[in-house]
Subunit: 454 residues, 2 copies
């Protein structure tokens, strides 16, 4: 019998996270204070994040211990199974061996709880009682609600109003875990009240929600803010994915030729890829591909600049590939990939040639997702479909070349809460989505005045 | 580190199903032809089911081999993990050790694919090209859609119209797997046209949907009908749950004192319980509890009679506990438990005192479900909440008695597609639901004229 699932026993769960900042050929440029264009100091962030997470953000230690209390929670669904996609391989008639790491088995259905649990824990031990955050489509908000519930913290989620109205299930999930979820702009903050005064039915935006959550954190007692991607400590917490995958691949004497992950803010891609990028830095041959939507082509089209992390210009300037913090991506179903920037770590790896990037249109990704659902059975999230589209392309290439490539992709989450998107695709109502050349040229011109990292 | 998940490697998946018909102290009475009240012969069912499944239905062989092709598909998500519910135990401050078998990890999110895969396979090898079925809330329809897709069979699902309109996501899931799902009554069958002529907006019922699916099966080329619970062969396919659980419990030197499963048609309960009931027949001490809704108290209140399996009186008469085939249960969210009858095997075990039964109200079960979601993290299906309510009650009893009871429950599926029910519960809008004594007395009087099994 062929081995379909490669599991890892609970007692082999990795005990340390991998911090690629120890191994980067070129360190990531420091975040800048936008008022002075000088590097910010750790204590400037202390009203927003607890100091123990700020220390992780800046650390260059290669290995950082995962606390026992965090491991205990991660064991609720980790180690996640690694699957061999036999049925997909057969449908593609490819000599490639395709593996996927199933992060959809977490209680929230995606990789997001890996960092939500860690962040809730570090806030807890720092004495924080309450966390405020923003959410767009709701994946991060639900993951953090789950994690706060696990550690007895209060959680308030500012959810972009248009998503709040369109996606009531995510809000219900947050409330089932005991969190408070309000549509943003809300009457609960100065920022929210300002936008509501302009328009009582304001649809909201991620930028506004971030402003509300940060304001809440810095003005409320024992409260801090939490972010679900982009930052170094978030990416650190996700590396458990790749560390597990390395053990699982080794247990069947495989090593991937190609690593694939979808990239919005960059944490899911990094989670799988960084432990393998470490091998690459140490001389191993492996192709590492970050996949993004053609409608939000941050890595494939965006310049490497200093830009704000949010639309409302409340964050420090980060050195990253960006389409500009004013950029509004098309309303594709892969809500988790609609971010104007990219994690500084991922951006730096692209600049240094250690990873590459590809973009696919919405219809290409759903075609891939349906192929996956009708072979491997599990219905992938719209974000995950980007990684699958790339894996299928690489598997076809392997067939043309007659090569037994080993492909490993990060199956970042399930699509059980995104079935309306599949319905739209199957009934021919889903719009394709990609930025035009003219649009990109204009954007690049606008971005040419942004500061460049050294 | 405490072991949270007890996994079973792929190569230890059970290779045979367990058929309790070999071990029953009293065999189940034969199904009767309602026209003659005499036992039906196998060939009378051959227009409805393929002969290989009819043979399984009647078999008294103790062990039945699982074909390699079925095992290969089951390995997509099986063996399922067994979990120790440490957080729930801690919240209850109980000396009991609570284990749950997580059947929610299947692509369809419940235990239903265990038999859907087997049924699709046996239809396939019998030369059938297409399967027709009915579905209420949509769980069985989606499981069979998935299974038919895996074996390249066409699938048509007649979905009760009111559910079709209220629960569009389940329909979308079926279509994502390539099945056709129509609201029932439909214009596609004589039965459907008859009801539509009476009322073009007819809300439908499970009885009408069964009539449509059976008519489709017996009148269409190379088509058979498929049922998701109640029948012996369906229950047989589910025993893989309990067989895995036995291996997993043995691997940590545990044996359950109490086995708990929710029971609608009986297949999920049986799947976990029957291998342990075998031990009980052989002298082992174990308490086995089937849990049902107080609004549909088939086992706790219904008499043991010969009754139709469907409202439309198209099936043979089955010897079972029943509330009468005309009984319409309250519209509780646990749609999978809204069945008037109970599997003949489960009914017989209750008559013979090998199992017991308990009923809980809707509010009791959701209180349990929220406790579970806020401790163990995973959000359970409304059906599963019944088993959890019972497990919590037993764990509290163990505390009162100061006994280290080992409780094992079947976590039959996740509730990610049932969040509206949680929302109603948390906002105080969920109605409680239980049959009144008067209502039950009247029902028992009506049922007193039904034939009694010997």
């Amino acid at each position: 019998m062929n081995k379909k699932k490669i599991t890892l026993p609970d007692n082999e769960i990795p005990r340390q996270w991998y911090n690629i900042q120890a191994d980067l050929p070129n360190p990531i440029p420091p975040p800048l204070n936008p008022a002075t264009n000088t590097p910010i100091s750790p204590d400037m962030l202390s009203a927003v994040f607890p100091m123990n997470l700020i220390e992780q953000e800046l650390s260059t230690e290669r290995w950082i211990d995962i606390p026992e209390a965090v491991l205990e929670k991660l064991l609720m669904w980790r180690p996640t199974p690694l699957y061999r996609a036999y049925a997909l391989e057969k449908a593609l008639d490819t000599p490639a061996r395709i593996y996927f790491k199933n992060e959809g088995v977490s209680p929230a259905g995606s990789h997001k709880p890996n960092t939500a649990i860690a962040q809730a824990y570090f806030n807890k031990v720092f004495g924080i009682k309450r966390i405020a955050t923003e959410t767009g489509a709701g994946q991060w908000g639900s993951a953090l609600s789950f994690a706060c519930n696990q550690f007895g913290l209060q959680c308030k989620v500012y959810m972009v109003r248009i998503s709040y109205n369109q996606k009531p299930y995510r809000k219900m999930l947050m409330e089932t875990w005991g969190a408070q979820c309000v549509p943003s702009p809300s009457p609960d903050t100065n920022a929210g009240r300002k936008f509501l005064a302009e328009n009582p039915e304001h649809p909201g935006s991620l930028g506004i929600s971030i402003s509300e959550a940060i304001e809440d954190a810095v003005t409320s007692k024992d409260t801090r803010y939490s972010l679900g991607s982009v930052l170094n400590h978030v990416i650190l917490h996700q590396t458990i994915i790749g560390l597990e995958a390395q053990k699982q691949m080794a247990s069947i004497n495989e090593y991937p030729d190609i690593i694939i992950g979808c990239a919005g803010g960059g944490s899911n891609f990094s989670g799988l890829a960084l432990p393998f990028v470490r091998d690459k830095i140490n001389g191993k041959k492996v192709k590492v591909i970050a996949v993004e939507p053609a409608s939000c082509p941050t890595l494939t089209k965006g310049p490497y600049i200093y830009d704000f992390g949010d639309t409302a210009e409340t964050t420090p300037l980060l050195a990253m590939h960006s389409l500009g913090h004013a950029f509004v991506p098309a309303p594709i179903h892969a809500g988790g990939l609609r971010y104007h920037g990219m994690a500084p770590i991922v951006s730096r790896l692209l600049v240094d040639g250690l990873i590459e990037a590809k973009a696919y249109t919405q219809l290409q990704t759903f075609a891939a997702g349906v192929t996956f659902a009708r072979t491997e059975g599990f219905v992938p999230a719209p974000e995950t479909n980007h990684a699958i589209a790339c894996a299928i392309e690489e598997a076809k290439k392997a067939k043309e070349e007659g090569k037994e490539k080993v492909i490993l992709l990060n199956w970042s989450g399930h699509g059980i809460m995104d079935l309306a998107a599949y319905d739209a695709y199957l009934s021919g109502k889903l719009e394709d989505s990609a930025m035009g050349d003219d649009e990109i040229q204009k954007l690049l011109q606008d971005l040419s005045k942004y500061p460049k990292p050294k």
